[in-house]
């Protein structure tokens, strides 16, 4: 008890407050109330951080937009893996307060939306008083000091094969929680673009693997699948140390990767 909350009317004021109050953390809907920092400021009620604007090829979403508000865009206007991932998060009552910014910036582990946003190549925009930076979510570790997350650009990718799975308990976040996403596009019986990502205790994506898989002729043969499994396992083992992941979660990842490849046979 006795934690301090600060308030900002808009994004500019939020940046100013962060600069003048070192140690203050930005939070979203605070649905993880038990983990609040000692000094915090919420994006709730900051209109210029809660925008949602649809464009022809992407959607811009403010970090303060709630998961329900994003779902309200509708199934037909959202990439299928995002729609599916949003529906997997908690329940509608929690989604009314939980924000996309909170989901992305969660400390310690990556939450449900992270893997699908990585697969879609979403871009994060950060602002401070003088500068705006953009970073691919695949390389995101934490919000740079003195900056705020000001926008999430979600490309409207309509992949031919789109797979999302949540790992761990259905509605809550535990040590066993993670998410998996796979996107594939084909052209003239061969794989054109492939995106495979995993997020939980750590994040995994491998450009090397994706490049290796792209160009494979379809349908994939059993030999192709075995070879792809070996390559993805090798890349995954490089990224995941034993401290990061349990054997069960590792096996779940391999099963999901194999299942994804089998959809292309």
């Amino acid at each position: 008890m006795g934690k301090t909350i600060l308030y900002a009317k808009n994004a500019a004021e939020l940046i100013k407050i962060l600069n003048n109050n070192p140690g203050t953390k930005v939070v979203g809907g605070c649905t993880r109330i038990e983990n609040l920092p000692d000094k915090f400021i919420s994006t709730r009620g900051i209109k210029d951080l809660s925008h949602i604007s649809r464009h022809e090829r992407y959607i811009d979403v403010g970090p303060g937009a709630t998961l329900s508000e994003i779902l309200a865009i509708g199934q037909t206007h959202l990439p299928p893996i995002i729609y599916e991932a949003l529906n997997c998060i908690a329940n509608p009552i929690i989604r009314n307060t939980a924000t996309i910014g909170g989901n992305i910036c969660s400390e310690n582990r990556k939450l449900t939306l992270f893997a699908p946003l990585m697969a879609l190549d979403a871009k994060l925009e950060f602002k401070n008083q003088t500068e705006t930076r953009t970073e691919n979510i695949r390389y995101f570790k934490s919000v740079p000091e003195g900056f705020i997350l000001s926008n999430i650009r979600i490309p409207l990718v309509d992949a031919e094969l789109s797979i999302f799975r949540r790992i761990g308990p259905e509605h809550s976040i535990t040590q066993q929680s993670a998410s998996f996403a796979f996107l594939a596009d084909t052209e003239k019986n061969s794989l054109l673009n492939v995106h495979l990502s995993f997020a939980g205790p750590f994040t995994f994506h491998s450009k090397e693997f994706e490049n290796f898989m792209s160009g494979h002729r379809l349908p994939l043969t059993q030999k192709d699948i075995t070879q792809l499994e070996e390559v993805v396992a090798e890349q995954f083992q490089k990224a995941a140390t034993d401290q990061m992941i349990t054997d069960v979660m590792r096996q779940q990842f391999f099963n999901l990767a194999r299942y994804s490849f089998e959809q292309l046979t």
Binding site: M1, T31, I33, S42, R44, S68, I93, I94, N96, H171
Partner: protein, 158 residues
């Protein structure tokens, strides 16, 4: 700290720690319909309307609701929407135990407000995580569907 809100239609100052759960603070302020259940935001017992959206008050730190509009079931029972929802529930044979009422009624309210007619599966998906203490899922979905019918009839007459 002092946190100004509109509570059940009246401008009120809540005296609470910034990180104190809104559920506890509302209970202290006489809103006895706000109950403690799972304390994880799933069972629905602590549901309130926060700026007209159902929210789990056990998962909301009071500090972030400054200047918000909070409605608890204690006040919502006076609205026409409540009468419509209860009429639908009654038609489906639902007898609420009292502990879970807020979650079920406010979930029905959000579905009722939805601009498009939800499918049966969508309603089931929406309410499946709520506590099934006194009402099974199928019956609850029936109750919400009846509420929608009654609501639409009333609107057509209006």
């Amino acid at each position: 700290m002092k946190i100004p809100v509109t509570l059940n239609g009246t401008k009120t100052i809540l005296d609470a720690h910034a990180d104190e759960s809104l559920m506890k603070v509302l209970h202290k302020n006489g809103c006895i319909s706000v109950k403690r259940g799972c304390n994880s935001g799933f069972c629905g017992s602590c549901t309130i309307l926060l700026d007209d959206h159902p929210a789990a008050s056990c998962k909301i730190p009071t500090g972030i609701v400054r200047n918000s509009d909070i409605v608890t079931l204690d006040y919502f029972v006076k609205t026409e929407e409540y009468s419509v929802i209860m009429a639908g529930f009654q038609k489906a044979g639902i007898k609420l135990c009292g502990y879970c009422t807020a979650g079920k009624v406010f979930s029905a309210y959000q579905i009722l407000k939805s601009p498009k007619m939800p499918k049966r599966e969508e309603i089931a998906d929406y309410v499946k995580a709520l506590s099934p203490c006194c009402t099974d899922l199928e019956t609850l979905v029936n109750g919400i569907l009846y509420s929608i019918q009654i609501f639409n009839k009333k609107q057509m007459r209006g």
